[in-house]
Symmetry: C2
Subunit: 198 residues, 2 copies
């Protein structure tokens, strides 16, 4: 699909046709595009738990303010970010000299910064995910409002990973509602300095 | 351009042809697509400072570990996120009853959470930005490594905004280097529970 069409057609969809499934093949195509997301120092801090089992979706719904679309969606993605940058560098950098140089740089990165990077990395990847899904004819919705510690316990997420966002994926059961109000160019743009308006 | 082509062709570009400019028209088209990014409670916490003045790009380079491409790019975007959710709700929700309901919900959001949401919102928008730029034939690079407090002072960013990411925009002066190693499907995907591999 044309990019302009994808970015315009993508909407946050909360009404899904139940009982329709997403195949491994679809998931592979989807995450093959998500993988191309850029990241600080190419650390690719993102990982994804794909939840399709009805019982697990029900559990996840309970972690997410009981939002119905978490259970109705064909799949829900738990997007997590690793805070263990040293281990990540081991995975992403094969050349010995490059790895040593990267590890030296990562020594200056505080645990707080590693967490912020995890949130940034995962959010960038989630935007790729939601657009790539739209391009494949899948509807989606990103959720920020959930209990990360409850999700951690239910889905066995280790302490050095941060649950960042959830993404529902599926087939919408009715047309998207009217687009919510979007701020205009003048509302969000500054020229050269903060406060200097177009 | 086709979506598959955009997402594949987008690369982090650090070598720019100097002296080429980006017009207001290009910026308007670009941010018209960025505006469509989804956000928690539709709060659209993102704002952008567009830096094109050579002196200001030089200053920004000094805030970003002296990285040359910050000065060479045609424009650099400082992507900031507001942490003032109440003020944002006033801007994004016009209907009185809906606004009251939203404000009641926002009372439970801690300042730490508002900051995390700001980082998430801005990162989602920055991914839209970098893909929309690629679709328009513009090269870009997202930068996470910069001194946010130095940027805050130099560009007059208020205390209730968080500088999140920088994005260079311009015309690349040579072909993109080889794509860095990307983790595979098996590295980043778990099924149903963390640790359960495909």
């Amino acid at each position: 699909m044309d990019f302009d069409e994808v970015i315009t057609k993508r909407r946050s969809i909360r009404e899904y046709a139940p009982g329709r499934s997403i195949s491994e093949q679809q998931l592979e195509k989807l995450f093959d595009q998500v993988r191309l997301t850029p990241s600080a120092r190419n650390l690719q801090q993102w990982e994804f738990i794909i939840v399709r089992d009805p019982e697990n979706k029900k559990k996840l719904r309970e972690c997410a303010n009981n939002q119905k679309h978490v259970e109705d969606a064909s799949a829900v993605i738990i997007a997590v970010g690793t805070k263990n940058l040293v281990l990540r560098a081991e995975m992403t950098t094969k050349d010995f000299a490059a790895k040593e140089a990267l590890l030296a740089k990562l020594k200056d990165v505080s645990p707080e910064k590693a967490k912020v990077w995890a949130i940034q990395n995962v959010s960038l990847a989630v935007m790729s995910l939601t657009l790539a899904a739209a391009n494949m004819g899948l509807s989606s919705c990103i959720l920020a409002a959930f209990d990360p510690e409850k999700v951690r316990i239910e889905f066995g997420i280790p302490a050095d990973y941060e649950p960042v966002l959830l993404v529902t994926l599926g087939y919408q059961s009715k047309p998207a509602p009217e687009r919510p109000m979007k701020l205009g160019f003048d509302d969000i743009i500054h020229f050269e300095k903060f406060g200097k308006k177009p």
